[in-house]
Every structure is written in C-alpha cells, then in structure tokens.
Amino acid sequence: MMRSFVAALALPLLGASIGCATVKPYERGALAHPTMLLGDMSRTAASHVYAIHEGATGGGTGAEGGCGCN
C-alpha cells in the first residue's frame, strides 16, 4: 500500500512542478487575502464533528505555507 500511496502522491506533485507559474511578490495581492490560506476551512468545533461523523482521517494542515504573504 505504501508504494501505491507514494505513486499517487508523486504524480500530482510532479504535475505541479511542471505546470506552475512564477508569480512575483508584487503580484500577490489576491494570493495574500486571508481566505486564500490553504488551511482547513472548518472551525475547530466543525472539524471535531467531521472527525466523529466520518470514518476517514487526514488532510489536516499541521504545516501551512505558500500564501505568498510574510
């Protein structure tokens, strides 16, 4: 399962590396907007509800980055 998972993860990462634009810092007004932070959209209580209602886990954002700000 580990190999399949690594392959499934590597494919989009490779695509991202090839297909991305280089945006200059002064062009990032939209990217720096607070709603563009790619963290979990749910508030803590809602996340807790989802964790209990759903048999799946993962996708949380222990590390965040790439908002273009700071």
Binding site: H33, T44, E54
Partner: protein, 401 residues
C-alpha cells in the same frame, strides 16, 4: 512523547538564539529584526444536536502572540465539551441517559528562519473515560520566490480509553504516529493549490469500550434488515453480547488536494480528500466554500461537504454466532457496532458570516456565525437508517497591537 515535545521546543529556542547571534554579526540591532507584538484573542460557543438524541455545547477560548516581522507566533486554545446523550446505542444496552464533560487544550509555536518555517505543537484531551496526549512538529520551506512551499509534519499521540469508574489499570491504550508530506504551489496570480499525503499508524486498543454487539443464530443474521429496531434485535438475538473487538493495528492513508481562487471580492475554496486503510475502508470527501465580500466589513459564505465511504472488511450489519460442541460460544473474531466503520454517506450544507465590528473600518474586532446541517445515511447498520444533525458556532475575535 513529553520528551519529544520538549526536544522540539528546545530546538526552536536554540535556533532562535543562533539567529540572534547572526543578526548581531550582521551589524543590525536585534530590534531591527523584530516588530511590534500582535495579540489575538477569541472566544466562541459551539453547539451540536442530532436526531440520535446527542447534544453537545462547547465553549472555548483561544489566544496568540505573534511578531510578523520576526516571523514567530505562539498560540493556545482551551475548550470544554459538555455532552448529553441518550443515543440508540445507549438505549439498546438498557442504559440511561448520561452526561459527560471533556476538557481539551492545545498549544503551538511557529518560527521562521529565512525561508524555513518550523513549528511545534502539543495537546491533551481529558474526560472521565478517555485521555489523549499528542505532540508534533512541522517544517516548510519557501522556494522560487515562495511559489513552491514543500512541507512535512510528524506527530505522536497516546490515547487511553476505559469505562467510567473502571480502574485505570484496566483501560486500553493505543499509540499513533502521523506523518505528513506535501507541497503548496502558486498556480497564477489569483490561484493557489496544494497536494498532501498523510499516513497515520495506530497500534493498540482501537475498539470502543462501551459497545456491546448483538449476535444472531446462523441463518438468522441475513434476515435482520438495515435499521432494525431495538425491539426486533432483542427478540431475535442470542444471549451473549460480546464487547466490540477490532484489529489492534491500523494503517491509514489520505491524499488531499486543495484549490483556492480569488476574484476581486470573492474566493472559491475546493478541497478533495481520498482515503484508504488496511481495514478495507475507502472514502472520498469533497468540501467547497464560496466566500463573498459584501462591502468591506461583511463576508458571507455558503458551504457544502459530501463524504461517502465503504465499510471496513469485517463490518457486518448482523454478526452470527453458534455454540461449539464444548458448549462455548464461537464468536466472530472481529465485530463492531461503530457505524462509522460501516458504509455511509453524509451531506452537509451550511453558511457563515463574518462581520467586522465598530464604525472605524480599521478596528479589528469580528463576530463570526457559522451554521451547518448534516444528513448521514447509514447503508447497512442496525437501529439507524439516517441521522440528521445541526451544528453551529458563534465566535468573537479580536486583534490587538
């Protein structure tokens, strides 16, 4: 685990010390590398109620200190859950309504060292029959003028689960290790995306200590319909009612993609998570939110989420048992009544609003209201065919310099 958290904090502190020395060598006074402290504080009350007679009220407080110029921040949060339940699982075991309080606290510290960001976090959750401790670390690196940000994360958890009143020596426990790797990347001036993989590895007692599983004579179990009533189950089941029992190891994997697109006054966020584990459960979760700015002070958003999953390999609506020639009951090795291990789908629809308070548009106080309704359809479970739930949060947030 405490040693792990302490070690991570020591690493961050030492790294900060090293950077300060570097600043002095550069000839820049330390104050030139730090700005004014920003303080954030918030308090909220969340509520949950469902058609299975579960009600939860959760007040919480949170606070944080940060220096955006220096790049560090520290945050903490404390929440209390007051749970009142008379769900079908409780009633079916002839137990009465119960009430319980959970206390949970978490904290994190993050710092930036040039393009490298490091973070450490820890948390605990305690209730009369459950204790959870966790600690972790994250790292991310800005590359190519912050157009690519790969990140990794790791956390370790220790959970003890028992029954209220049962001596701790008889509680079960399990360890969990979570690993995360991913990449956030800028797609265009208005678009950003991320891809991440998560692996979670659980070892130990993973069953539910309060669940007792009805078992049926061979040949009868297939005749028990989904959603069968407590009365029907009690009339047809065998005498033994074994406790929940599942494998003591579980490897869980998730692949998540996120996309954000910003128009002049609105933002679309799309998340998709694919999940699989070695218990045979497969799931997909799609989450979308469209934030719309109505003026400078008010943002509203509709929200939709859909989750669907298959059941675990050992999931059965009705388990069978029979007597061995010796007279002992031959029970299925693995049996569970945890409906979240069975096939189901959940559809959630909600909305929220965030209002900046005060007449001065520069004031930094917000009121946030969020409400969702969820409908879960259990495709192959006893007692329940569907559950409807509503949950909401009312929050007050402040930012102070």
């Amino acid at each position: 685990m405490r040693r792990l958290s302490s070690a991570m904090l020591v690493v961050l502190i030492v790294a900060r010390g090293t950077r300060t020395e570097g600043s002095e060598k550069d000839g820049a006074p330390p104050s030139a590398r730090s700005g004014a402290l920003g303080v954030k504080a918030s308090t909220d009350v969340a509520g949950y109620a469902d058609t299975d007679h579960v009600i939860v009220v959760s007040p919480s407080i949170a606070g944080g200190v940060s220096d955006d110029v220096a790049g560090w921040s520290a945050n903490a949060r404390y929440v209390v859950d007051v749970v009142s339940a008379a769900s079908v699982d409780i009633v079916s075991t002839a137990s009465g309504k119960w009430r319980e309080t959970r206390h949970a606290a978490s904290g994190s510290f993050n710092d930036k060292f040039g393009d490298l960001a490091l973070g450490a976090s820890g948390g605990f959750s305690s209730e009369p029959d459950y204790l959870s401790l966790s600690g972790g670390a994250t790292a991310s690196l800005d590359l190519f003028e912050k157009n690519f940000t790969p990140f990794v994360g790791y956390s370790h958890g220790h959970d003890d689960a028992g029954r209220t009143g049962l001596p701790r020596a008889f509680w079960g426990s399990f360890e969990s290790n979570d690993a995360q790797v991913g990449l956030t990347f800028v797609l265009a001036r208005r678009a950003i995306a991320s891809v991440q993989g998560d692996g979670r590895f659980e070892r130990g007692y993973l069953a539910k200590p309060y669940r007792y599983i009805p078992v049926f004579p061979v040949g009868v179990a297939p005749l028990i319909p989904a959603g069968a009533s407590i009365d029907l189950v009690n009339r047809t089941r065998l005498d033994p009612r074994p406790s929940d029992q599942v494998p003591n190891a579980r490897d869980r994997w998730a692949l998540t993609a996120r996309l954000g697109y910003r128009w002049s006054a609105s933002t679309l966020r799309l998340d998709e998570r694919l999940y699989t584990d070695d218990w045979g459960l497969r799931a997909t979760t799609t989450d979308a939110r469209y934030s719309l700015d109505l003026g400078r002070r008010l943002t509203i958003w509709p929200h939709v989420r859909f989750h669907a999953q298959t059941g675990a390999r050992f999931w059965r609506r009705a388990y069978e048992a029979e007597r061995a020639p010796s007279g002992d009951w031959q029970l299925p090795m693995y049996r569970t009544g945890d409906r979240e291990l069975g096939p189901l789908y959940t559809f959630t629809l909600g909305a929220g609003a965030r209002l900046q308070l005060g007449s001065d548009v520069r004031s930094r106080f917000w009121l946030v209201l969020e409400a969702d309704g969820a409908m879960t359809r259990y495709l192959d479970a006893l007692f329940l065919l569907r559950r409807r739930a509503v949950f909401s949060t009312l929050a007050f947030e402040a930012e102070l310099d």
